[in-house]
Symmetry: C2
Subunit: 348 residues, 2 copies
């Protein structure tokens, strides 16, 4: 037997297909008795509605797409975690597009996958889209929300990277540091990633405001991983003579890599070297890392809830809606400055 269809349920319950459909999907105008009948018959037959048929007829997919650069990195997997939990609870599916570094793959995801009228909404994390690309996406009339990346014309959840980076740097300056290095992210790694630039700008702004010069050789970049930063920090800290007294790393992972490198050289953190990170990685606690905590998981959950609300309220997606498309809000997600034990006054 092919799996039971709604027709089988209708026959068994002695009702029409239409009534069964209404009963099972909890619609109004069904008598209690019919509802029970339908439910019982469905249970007995193990009926599960066909998703495709249902979506095709109703125009709703119960499916949200999530585009991330690299599932392997802490920030992104945290966001995925938050999105996933929210969607699962709401009965939505999550389609994951882990685009990675490959530009061709990025292109194919945008062109082939996202447009297939199969997603009710899209969440894009740290993805910078060209105007044409955004237009293309909006043309399918699906709500989009961006996390941590600017999506002109779409809603966004983000933190003010430049300002927070400035705050972090000012924390070091406030402690008395002037010889501060900055560990930024590889620019060429991913063109969809303007975050390193923003944080670096914040760093430079704070330094300039304090009248400190920024040595070019003290601005190095790594790949956002602990191990990558570790390697770079080793070279940075190798020369004992002229060594920075503090490092601001553009992510907690890279800050941790820096701490590990410092330990290898016998440098004590924070007595010999202050290190400050940014993100709120769970591992930061082990290292007593001072950082700016951004709740990545919460950002993901918020994005999902925002979309769910839009989808729930609106009519069929893809249909002309009575209410105008919800205004593209640009929310700043709250952060928390977390002073632990990796920063202190510079050595005398």
């Amino acid at each position: 037997m092919g799996l039971a269809g709604i027709k089988d349920v209708a026959d068994r319950a002695g009702l029409s297909i239409a009534t069964v459909s209404r009963a099972l999907s909890g619609k109004a105008n069904v008598s209690t008795k019919s509802r029970q009948l339908a439910q019982a018959a469905a249970d007995e037959l193990g009926f599960v509605p066909s998703y495709h048929a249902s979506s095709l007829a109703s125009g709703r997919n119960h499916n949200v797409g999530l585009v991330v650069p690299s599932i392997h990195r802490w920030y992104f997997s945290s966001v995925v975690d938050g999105v996933s939990a929210a969607l699962l609870d709401a009965g939505y599916d999550l389609t994951l597009y882990n685009v990675g570094d490959d530009p061709a793959r990025r292109q194919s995801v945008l062109a082939d996958f996202l447009l297939r009228k199969r997603l009710d909404a899209v969440i894009a994390v740290s993805l910078v889209l060209s105007e044409a690309e955004i237009k293309q996406l909006l043309a399918v009339r699906r709500p989009i929300v961006g996390i941590g990346g600017a999506l002109a014309g779409a809603s966004t959840i983000r933190i003010d990277d430049a300002r927070l980076a400035r705050t972090a740097t000012e924390h070091l300056i406030g402690l008395g540091h002037s010889r501060i290095a900055h560990l930024t992210g590889d620019a060429e790694l991913n063109r969809d990633f303007k975050l390193p630039g923003l944080r670096q700008a914040g760093f430079e702004a704070a330094m300039a405001a304090a009248g400190h010069t920024v040595r070019p050789e003290w601005q190095v970049s790594a790949d956002f991983t602990i191990q990558g930063a570790y390697a770079r920090a080793r070279s940075l800290l190798a020369t004992a003579s002229e060594r920075p007294t503090a490092v601001f790393a553009a992510s907690d992972e890279m800050a941790i890599g820096t701490i590990l490198a410092a330990r290898d050289f016998g440098l004590r953190v924070p007595q010999d070297l202050s290190v400050i990170g940014m993100d709120g990685h769970e591992l930061g606690e082990v290292f007593g890392l001072t950082t700016i905590n951004q709740d990545a998981r919460g950002q993901g959950a918020l994005a999902a809830h925002m979309l769910l609300e839009t989808l729930g309220a609106g009519a069929k997606p893809g249909t002309k809606r009575t209410t105008p498309a919800p205004a593209a809000t640009d929310r700043e997600y709250p952060t928390e400055f977390l002073v632990r034990s990796s920063t202190a006054v510079p050595p005398v």
Copy 2:
């Protein structure tokens, strides 16, 4: 305008719907000219086929479900990465079910999500299913492959956890250690997770074979994270008098946590304490961690390729196939013993 449908393309190209469909999906029996005509018209209109309609009519979804316990952990995100890349290249979508610890969610994923005739296949990672659950899944006639978990009746990719754990332990024993502690995974954390037990069994077997006694207080468990293991290892290593000379951790993350704790106590690795892990975490390199390398990403990719092959070869999924369901193969994925610098002979 509602987005262009195949009908619009057909009109524009001056062809029938049927021919356009065949042309665009690369089927045989279409003249080169028609194919070009159809393609051109489709491009001009920005036509993207409706996935639901296509799936409904053809029975193929081009969508694979992936169930993981926790996207946040290294092993799982590595697997996801591998699966994702393989599927994306093949033009398949990946639906992610990050079930987490919540048994209710696990239940709803199994019952509500997986059965909706919407997935061509399912990959389950470290998920232990009851017989009834497997039966339920197989009833929808979708191929399943399990990674790192035993799925009776389905294909499996796994490593021999017990044997490898034994090998790791024997490495320590071979170096001369007899006071060996084992850091295992929390059992209650996830009932779908028999891996800790297997690795622990391997450890005990090796110890027994060597005639070494296993102190109960030297078998402690943590949550598989660096920070969790760090906390546990601190208590384990706190008492200077009777301290193990080596630790076998059930994962690299926990091994790293152990190394960090050891360093906190001024213990040198490997001179004062040998540590061996298991998994092949990228971070292991930074710590010179001796471990057994299992290519998690590769396992994910392999699983995806296996499924793609089955799907490509077979007829419509969900249909009675001429060939019998492919035999449930149980493959052991190759591993590599990676001796680095975290293990040495015990201190005298």
